[in-house]
């Protein structure tokens, strides 16, 4: 029963959805503060390459090096997101072009590839990778075994993160300030909220989470480093934020929805469904376009729209 197509797809949908979830939560935080960062793909790849490098070079047990890997990945993501933050918050540059520049700079043909090749990371598997943590008896339970108990610590941590982000944005003073900054920076400024500091902080946290998402690829899914291993996951994460109406809990389901579409080709092939199999990798991208069209109807946008000041620079003198 645990080998049936549906269970396999859902279980591996959770696996493939986890990097999307981390990246989407990060992007959600940045966008809720009014900063659109289209550089997710680049930040994920930086996290993937640096996290992998850290695990390969830190001497120690698997726990130490994996923790180190995640920390380095988060740091790498946050560092490259600094460039975007500086350009759009301090220098008031166009957020769309700056985000694209970040993806070109750090992406599959950029810094991540340069570092990966320069550090000779390709070709060897990760020394340590994230393993299933629950006891085997739980993993053997029908249906819920592989889906819920057959996952690594990254997945459980992401569930905690969803709850934390959701509570942060709705139940804490700082979280409410973030939303004020994203909806109406002028009003937030008048309230005494430091708009620039909030935007910097959330863009950087967004970068860190994208970096962790990238490390989920190189330390859990693949688990090795190849050029451009995220294959557009960063862009799907951006679509996911829109699809989830900027709400963390919906991101959770959206991530697994897209994760399942990413996992579907492999599952179908292992069940000997191979007709036109070369076209199956299109699934997640087609699903993303369809999902975006569905949620961009006028009614949906009026009810659960984007943050009011998303993509706009805030200049106190020009409000």
């Amino acid at each position: 029963m645990n080998n049936s197509l549906l269970v396999v797809v859902v279980a591996s949908g959770v696996l493939y959805g986890t990097p999307l979830l981390y990246a989407a939560l990060g992007e959600l935080l940045a966008e809720r503060s009014g900063v659109l960062n289209l550089g997710v793909e680049g930040m994920m790849l930086m996290g993937a390459v640096m996290g992998f490098w850290a695990v390969q070079s830190i001497d120690g047990g698997s726990t130490v090096s994996l923790l180190g890997g995640i920390a380095v990945a988060a740091l790498a993501g946050a560092l490259v997101s600094c460039i975007h933050a500086f350009l759009v918050i301090t220098l008031r540059a166009n957020q769309i072009v700056s985000g694209l520049a970040l993806t070109i700079f750090a992406g599959a043909a950029g810094l991540s590839s340069y570092l990966g090749n320069d550090l000779n990371l390709a070709g060897s598997p990760a020394r340590h990778q994230f393993q299933e943590v629950m006891p085997q008896s739980l993993q053997d339970l029908p249906v819920v075994g592989p889906i819920i108990f057959g996952q690594s610590i990254l997945v459980y941590a992401s569930w905690v993160l969803v709850a934390v982000v959701a509570l942060y944005l709705t139940r804490t003073r700082i979280g409410l300030n973030v939303r004020a900054v994203g909806e109406s920076p002028a009003a937030a400024d008048a309230m005494g909220v430091n708009v620039k500091a909030y935007r910097y902080a959330h863009t950087l946290v967004g970068g860190a989470l994208a970096g962790i998402g990238g490390a989920a690829f190189s330390l859990s899914i693949t688990p090795q480093w190849v050029d451009g291993l995220t294959g557009g996951a960063g862009w799907i994460a951006i679509a996911l934020v829109i699809f989830a109406f900027w709400r963390p809990t919906l991101c959770l389901f959206g991530a697994y929805f897209f994760g399942a579409f990413t996992a579907l080709p492999f599952a179908l092939q292992s069940h000997d469904i191979t007709r036109f199999s070369g076209l199956y990798p299109m699934f997640p991208y087609v699903a993303a376009i369809v999902a975006l069209v569905l949620v961009s109807s006028r009614a949906a946008r009026m009810r659960f729209g984007a943050p009011g000041a998303l993509g706009l620079p805030y200049v106190r003198e020009e409000r």
Partner: protein, 375 residues
């Protein structure tokens, strides 16, 4: 105390000086990346410029690398001018390459005169690119779906399809008979009458695609500065509401501009087939990142078609050198790093075009002046 204030008038020379300085700063920063990773920057740059412009035949290679970049740069510039962020140039170029290759194989060697085949390939390539670009255009115009993400998703979709045609299927475009094709899947090679001509001037090889791309740049300039269509595009780009109140058909224009942008990228795909590759080459096209470089070029050229040509030659040289030197002491990815840095610097430089930075030395004096009564 540093103050940033909006310029009321932008001096014309700033739009020349700022991009030039941006490129210079970007190269400095690239040198820093090289230095930080233990490569001597001076030596690396000398080799880079040698391979791009100075060595024997380097300039011809650079022109070859620049040709697709002019197309994708123009494609991006045409759309960006209207604030339509078509970043699907990559996929639109693939689509153009697929349709043009189909036409080249259908008509090639069947007795049609070569110019007819070339024109048919161009029309087919442009149509293929326009078709792919129309999807995000229509979705944007009628469902207000962000064209950024949909056009980008289409890059991956068309990319998968392109690979599928040659690697995972027995399509019409795939060579299934040749000796090499038995070992490694590849596209059918076109017959000679489907390959585009080129001219050699003092040892510099100018492919037909390059000449057409330059003419196309002039055409785009004319369209955007001398016609009603171009005027309306600029108005809608600067203020969509003003355009609507003036009775301009915004939705149609969005679809039209996206199709135009896609057609230009698709034209570039046809040029790739006819000028250089003479077969459908999924790997070569996908490794080159022409579409993404086009975005950098358009932004650096500040959407000016003639500047696109110049910037494309500069970045083409960089790309050409990157490919030539790629190896152990010259890691792949350096080209993207430099391109990204150029774009960052150009964006940062934009601040100096739009704003004036003032160092206010009298800050201390002004604080002692009694505050004016509130109005």
């Amino acid at each position: 105390m540093i103050r940033i204030e909006r310029r009321l008038r932008q001096p014309w020379w700033l739009s020349v000086v700022v991009p030039v300085v941006s490129v210079a700063v970007a190269f400095l920063l690239t040198g820093l990346v090289l230095f930080a990773t233990g490569h001597p920057p001076g030596h690396s740059f000398r080799r880079l410029f040698d391979a791009a412009f100075l060595a024997d035949g380097a300039l011809s290679e650079t022109v070859i690398s620049a040709t697709p970049l002019i197309f994708t740069g123009l494609a991006a510039a045409v759309a960006f001018r209207m604030n339509l962020f078509n970043i699907g140039g990559e996929g639109q170029l693939y689509a153009g390459a697929i349709t043009a290759a189909t036409i080249a194989l259908l008509l090639g060697g069947a007795g049609a005169p070569s110019p007819v085949i070339v024109v048919a390939m161009i029309v087919a390539g442009a149509a293929g690119g326009a078709f792919v670009a129309a999807i995000p255009g229509i979705l944007r115009a009628f469902f207000s779906t962000s064209e950024i993400i949909t056009s980008l998703m289409l890059n991956y979709i068309v990319g998968v399809f392109l690979t599928y045609l040659i690697f995972d299927s027995h399509s019409y475009l795939r060579d299934t008979n040749g000796f090499e094709a038995q070992v490694f899947p590849q596209g059918k090679v076109f017959s000679d009458d489907a390959s585009w001509s080129s001219w050699t001037i003092h040892g510099l090889v100018l492919p037909l695609g390059f000449v057409l791309a330059v003419l196309l740049a002039a055409g785009v300039w004319f369209l955007y500065t001398r016609t009603r269509f171009g005027f309306e595009v600029q108005v809608i780009g600067d203020s969509p509401r003003a355009g609507q109140y003036a009775g301009m058909r915004t939705r149609r224009k969005i679809v039209a501009v996206m199709c135009l942008s896609g057609a230009i990228a698709g034209f570039g795909g046809a040029s790739q087939d006819g000028d250089f590759r003479h077969q459908l080459d999924p790997q070569g096209l996908q490794q080159a990142n022409y579409g993404y470089s086009g975005i950098v070029i358009a932004a650096l050229a500040r959407y000016n078609p003639f500047a696109v040509v110049l910037v494309a030659i500069l970045l083409g040289g960089l790309q050409n050198a990157g490919f030539t030197l790629q190896g152990a002491d010259f890691p792949a990815g350096l080209v993207g790093v430099t391109q990204g840095l150029i774009l960052f610097c150009a964006l940062g430089g934009e601040l100096f075009v739009r704003y004036r930075v003032r160092f206010n030395r009298r800050a201390r004096v002004t604080t002692t002046v009694a505050p004016e009564p509130a109005p």
